[in-house]
Amino acid sequence: MTQYLSGILSLGLIYVIATVGLAVFTGFTGLFSLGHAAFFAIGAYTAAILTYFYGVNFYLALAAAGVMSGLVGFLIGYPTLKAKLRTDYFAIATLGFGEATRVLLENLSITQGARGLPGITNYTTLPVIIVIAALVIWVAWNFVHSRHGRAAIAIREDFVAAEMMGVNIFIGRLRSLIFSAACGGIAGGLFAHYFCFIQPSMFTAYMSTQLTAAVVAGGMGSISGPVMAALIFIGVPELLRVANIWRLVAYGLLLVLIMIFRPQGLLGYREISLSGIRDFFARFRKGARS
């Protein structure tokens, strides 16, 4: 039983890492990435190939996974964000990117195509995940409460006004995307060394959906909200042993219901905190109601 619970917690926290990354991007810049599973996949494959074929140290491989996904995020983000694409256009571009990545993974020889990579060493243990998740949340927290984070929020709320105030929209969005992609990559690296087997069909649009659903349900503009949502989304269906397919039905319904009844999500722009931050977010609460 403890093993079962620790398994759920491990998986939940791996998703938390990726969700925090997406929360920093989607929640704080208002842009939608429908292909985030691709960053997860790139990280998983980078780390797995490094430890599997080249015997690289696990932690170095994890770092490489983050760097690689961040780099790909930069390559995707630079042209699309530079062109200041509308939200819809950007979402469709990322959708295509996610699918294109999967097709590439299925056809490269180093990834062993659709057969996937079996027999990856199990390096990912619960303590490792907890430490890395805490680290990522800490960094994300500092990121969104820094100058860059405030700039990102300004971009989301009103990008014309933000630009007038001297915020560089392109840099702000690109920085968030790279951070977000790197988080996805690290989560992917942990995932690969947790399940010891990866194949391209694991990283479908459903994974992207699950991440997006967690961010939206947790509250766009919050870090702790999506963290909780990710844990709930993984944990509750797992504990209740709900068939996978009905989970997705519920996610879909949940997204629509949240948009109709509580568009600001579980926590809205707020965070779970003792004090201090409340004043900071009080200014944005007005926006949350609309």
Binding site: G30, A83, Y89, L248, G252, M259
Partner: protein, 290 residues
């Protein structure tokens, strides 16, 4: 070989164009990406399949049933998932999330209830080919192509000549002013969704006959989003040009390069085009309204 490929491409392009027009029609009025549209097309294929195979209707009647069924579903989709947001004047981001939710919900509901089984339409024309000077093209392809273009032409005629069509075009310029001039906007939007649903029914039928009917067949409709973006979202001629262009180019890539890189190609084409022309070929919305 060249003419052969061109004809096949035009046949696929016709269906892409049909889907892209339905998608763009909604966009032109409500200014958001209706990601649920792919699921409506998928359901259209199922309705057509049930009508034709299970209830033994002739093909003409089955297409009619599929058109009416998808039209109603699309209308219902708007009433349930978008109308509450419209009343609150929510931003297009919320519409998009709601649309994504609807799409996930419908797709997985089909999975969970009908199942992941593949269904084949009876081979009406699939095997028969028209031969002309060494070029052979499937009768189904010709039928689909002709039917698609006739449907698009009919829609165009309706939008250009009828009173309601003029009201729809007016609303796509400025929904508020249109409302001030005595147009019942709620009814008009319902009609637009119904029309888009009707197109979804036709394209669903043809996609189902050309390929197979299964829950994630809506994935093909991502091509329609890409086509619509290439043509410029909200522009109906753009959607037609984008659809045909994408269909033809893709077929050439599959024929002369490899069918594996086809999807990667469509995506790269999209990103490259958006970098040069951020509004697509015929788009008129450069940036979002704040």
């Amino acid at each position: 070989m060249f003419t052969q490929t061109l004809l096949t491409g035009l046949a696929i392009g016709g269906i892409y164009a049909l889907m892209a027009v339905g998608y763009s029609l909604v966009f032109s009025i409500l200014n958001f990406s209706n990601f649920a549209y792919g699921s409506i097309i998928m359901l259209g294929a199922y309705i057509g399949y049930y009508a034709m195979v299970r209830m033994g209707m002739p093909i003409g009647l089955a297409i009619a049933v599929s058109i009416v069924g998808s039209g109603l579903l699309c209308w219902l989709n708007e009433r349930l998932a978008y109308a509450p947001l419209r009343k609150r004047k929510a931003s297009s981001l919320f519409f998009m999330i709601s649309a994504m939710g609807t799409s996930i919900f419908l797709e997985n509901l089909v999975y969970a209830t009908i199942g992941a089984r593949f269904y084949n339409f009876p081979e009406l024309f699939a095997k028969s080919n028209l031969e002309f000077r060494g070029i052979s093209i499937g009768v189904l392809d010709v039928f689909a192509m002709v039917f698609s273009f006739v449907a698009i032409y009919g829609l165009n005629l309706f939008l250009q000549k009828s009173r309601t069509g003029i009201a729809i075009r007016a609303a796509s310029y400025d929904i508020e002013v249109c409302s001030l001039n005595g147009v019942n906007i709620a009814a008009l939007i319902g009609l637009v969704f119904g029309l888009a649903g009707a197109l979804a029914g036709i394209s669903g039928m043809f996609l189902g006959m050309k390929y197979i009917v299964y829950p994630t067949m809506g994935w093909i409709t991502n091509k329609a989003y890409i086509a619509a973006v290439i043509g410029g979202l909200g522009s109906l001629p753009g959607a037609v040009v984008g659809g045909v262009l994408l269909g033809v180019l893709e077929t050439f890539v599959s024929a002369y390069v490899s069918s594996v890189v086809r999807d990667v190609f469509s995506f790269s084409l999209l990103v490259l085009l958006l970098m040069v022309m951020p509004t697509g070929l015929f788009g008129r919305f450069l940036e979002e309204k704040v």
